[in-house]
């Protein structure tokens, strides 16, 4: 099959979202079923694309409109994008199933549309090879995220959404200023082309432009202190959406930071920016973990934990080494799985027991044993215990950190990890060793998903080799800019 058909990754969610108004009269079940079906289809396409990329070893360059870059916009579905598009699709598929049980607030047809478009946005962000197109997809992601954050229509939801909008709005404005500067200096928007020209950009323009671009993305990537919107949004959003936020929306932002950072590594002021990012990332980890420590709401607690992990990924990506990038990508994958599991199960507890306050978790081990077990697995994995997937990526990140000369930062991150260990310890203890209420029947489908994710955590934890091979390739994709430029069929324009 022609590689151009990878554009279905964009086309399918779009056309399906547009189709929803035509079936909304069929009722909630039909809409939700439709959502499951489309996400399954998307998973199939993403699977095909990933297989294509990994078996040929070459990226798929989707050329929109048949206009060769840099004249037209291209999608670059390399090892990274192929992997993450698949993750996005799979997680979305699971969350579509979860939505059946978790989303009862009307209007579900709107929910389904926004859901699909959130998925689309993240997919596009990861796939695109054009910096302004990245902005467009970022806004698709962000605006659907704004809407979904407020979807429950409570005061808190609206408040969270508003904070997200204000911060996201400021961020995207400055991002665009950065794009404007870089465009003004180069006359092109294509990423590969920009990478070619990066070294020749006027130093001041490069510094300011790149800093602004990274600043804008850092808001989406939840770097401290630009992440103040995140805990609120995570807490207020419908549970499946929280999963998507943590599993891939923030990852898309992180990816964008990583991608642009390395594309512009020829530009002036680059290493200074890296250093600043390392500092911010370290602070992100510390502040987030400390903030999670005494939370009374499990969902918010895990939200902070997620931010902490994100900080760690950002740290890895900002190290400027191949080892760091690969480790960061590995952590992205692992964190997507683990946090998907945690938010799924915690959200499910919220649905089943009417809230995610920590008290609701008392005696969960007896009340909802499967859920409690999977939460436990997720918690242990997050803490970074051996035989769970995160362990491998975490040590790789920290090793890479020390290797890159950031021992102090690694020490601080380790210190924060102690804190993380403590609050997860409390959660686990509350679930298993505190008395709670009576037994509750657990939902079959959600149980299957949870078990699948938990099994994945352990399988990767026990046998990380294959995944490591894959993420190494994905990391290469991100780090090796020369290869990136080579792979994009740039046509000559102008002189």
């Amino acid at each position: 099959m022609n590689g151009q058909y990878a554009s279905l990754l964009i086309a399918l969610p779009l056309i399906s979202a547009f189709f929803v108004p035509l079936i909304k009269e069929l009722g909630r079940k039909a809409v939700m079923g439709y959502l499951v079906m489309i996400t399954a289809l998307q998973t199939a396409i993403a699977g095909w694309v990933a297989n294509e990329v990994y078996s040929t070893g070459k990226p798929i360059i989707v050329i929109a409109g048949g206009w060769k870059p840099p004249v037209g916009i291209n999608l670059y579905i390399g090892h990274f994008a192929a992997l993450f598009v698949l993750i996005i699709a799979v997680i979305s598929f699971f969350m579509a199933i979860f939505s059946f049980r978790a989303v009862n607030v009307e209007p579900v047809d709107k929910y389904a549309m926004l859901f699909l478009l959130l998925m689309l946005g993240a997919t596009g962000m990861i796939a695109t090879g054009d910096i302004f197109n990245l902005f467009v997809f970022m806004e698709i992601t962000a605006i659907s995220a704004y809407a979904l954050t407020a979807y429950n229509k409570t005061g808190e939801a609206a408040e969270a959404s508003m904070k997200y909008i204000v911060l996201g709005g400021i961020g995207s404005s400055f991002f665009l200023i950065g794009v404007a500067l870089i465009y003004g200096a180069t006359g092109t928007l294509n990423m590969a082309h920009l990478a070619q020209l990066a070294g020749a950009i006027d130093p001041t323009v490069a510094q300011v432009g790149l800093a602004l671009i990274i600043f804008g993305l850092a808001v989406e990537a939840e770097l401290f202190p630009l992440n103040a919107w995140a805990p609120d949004a995570y807490q207020a959003a419908p549970h499946p959406i929280t999963v998507m936020f943590s599993a891939f929306v923030v990852k898309a932002g992180l990816y964008a930071i990583g991608r642009l950072l390395y594309l512009f590594q020829g530009a002036e002021g680059w290493s200074g920016l890296l250093r600043l990012l390392v500092i911010l990332a370290t602070l992100t980890v510390i502040v987030a973990e400390l903030s999670a420590l005494r939370q009374k709401d499990a969902k918010r607690m895990i939200a902070y934990s997620s931010i902490g992990q994100v900080g760690m990924i950002a740290f890895a990506l900002a190290l400027g080494t191949q080892a760091g990038v690969s480790a960061g990508v590995f952590h992205m994958v692992n964190h997507a799985i683990v946090k998907a599991l945690l938010f799924l199960t915690v959200g499910y507890v919220g649905v089943a027991l009417g809230g995610t306050a920590i008290e609701n978790f008392q005696g969960l081990g007896k009340r909802m044993p499967l859920t409690a077990l999977t939460i436990t697995i997720g918690s242990l994995a997050t803490v970074g215990i051996p035989l769970f997937n995160i362990f491998w990526s975490k040590i790789r990140i920290l090793l890479a950190g020390v290797e890159a000369g950031y021992s102090w930062s690694v020490a601080l991150i380790l210190g924060a990890s102690v804190v993380e260990a403590v609050y997860y310890f409390r959660l686990v203890h509350t679930m298993w060793f505190v008395e709670g209420g009576g037994r509750i029947r657990e939902n079959f489908a959600i149980g299957v998903i949870a078990i699948f994710l938990a099994a994945l955590i352990i399988v990767i934890g026990v046998y990380p080799n294959d995944v490591w091979t894959i993420v190494q390739k994905a990391g290469q994709d991100l780090f090796n800019v020369a290869n990136y430029i080579k792979n994009v069929p740039l046509m000559g324009v102008g002189a």
Binding site: I10, F18, K24, K110, S144, G187, T204, V208, L212
Partner: protein
Amino acid sequence: MVSLLKRSLAIISILVIGYWLAQGLAGVPFGEDKMLVGHYYLQHVKEQTGAVNAVTAVVVNYRGLDTLGEVTVLFIASTGVAALLWRKKRERTAKVGGSPVLTVGTKFLVPFVMLFGAYIFIHGHLTPGGGFPGGATIATAFLLLYMAFTIYEIPHKAFEKVEGLAGMGYVLVGLIGLAIGGYFLFDWIWQDWQWGVDNIGRLFSGGFIPIIYTIIGIKVGTELSGIVDNMLKEEVRE
């Protein structure tokens, strides 16, 4: 006091930030020709897309994916607004009816405004118009109806469906391009069928631009009207 401090801090901050931005901007002097890809567009736009308006060619052809995204963004906004303001039962918030001057005036204006909206998106490849301003103009017609008549409501269901169909239409055009020309959003009408090649500068040219702009115009018109509709209603509690 706090407020004064805050204001002063804010002013100092924005001055520093502004100074920094200005430093960056000094590196891309105003009025200087900074085009690289832009030159290519200007040189080739007519023969490659059939559009006289290079901006349109960029919007619909060269950077069509952006525009598809842009359409999507607006769709998200309309959906999001509808989702947030959704209530079991809602009706118009208006308390005071419009005067006969306004109502009659609106009746006269609406057809004209609609026609002009259509004019704008149909001529998008020739003039500065396009789907978005055209759609916005059409939405203005509906806005006027809302202003004049306190009980007026757009036909929601039909509008939603039209909105969805238009969006699907856009993607379908892209997919037809994929099927015919091998690329998503490929302008097969111009590049494969070469319709209107001897018509450049006249209406029947520009490949699929008029089609896409018509779709966008309809979509934007219905979407913005939908947003207006949602904003002008409130919950009725029983």
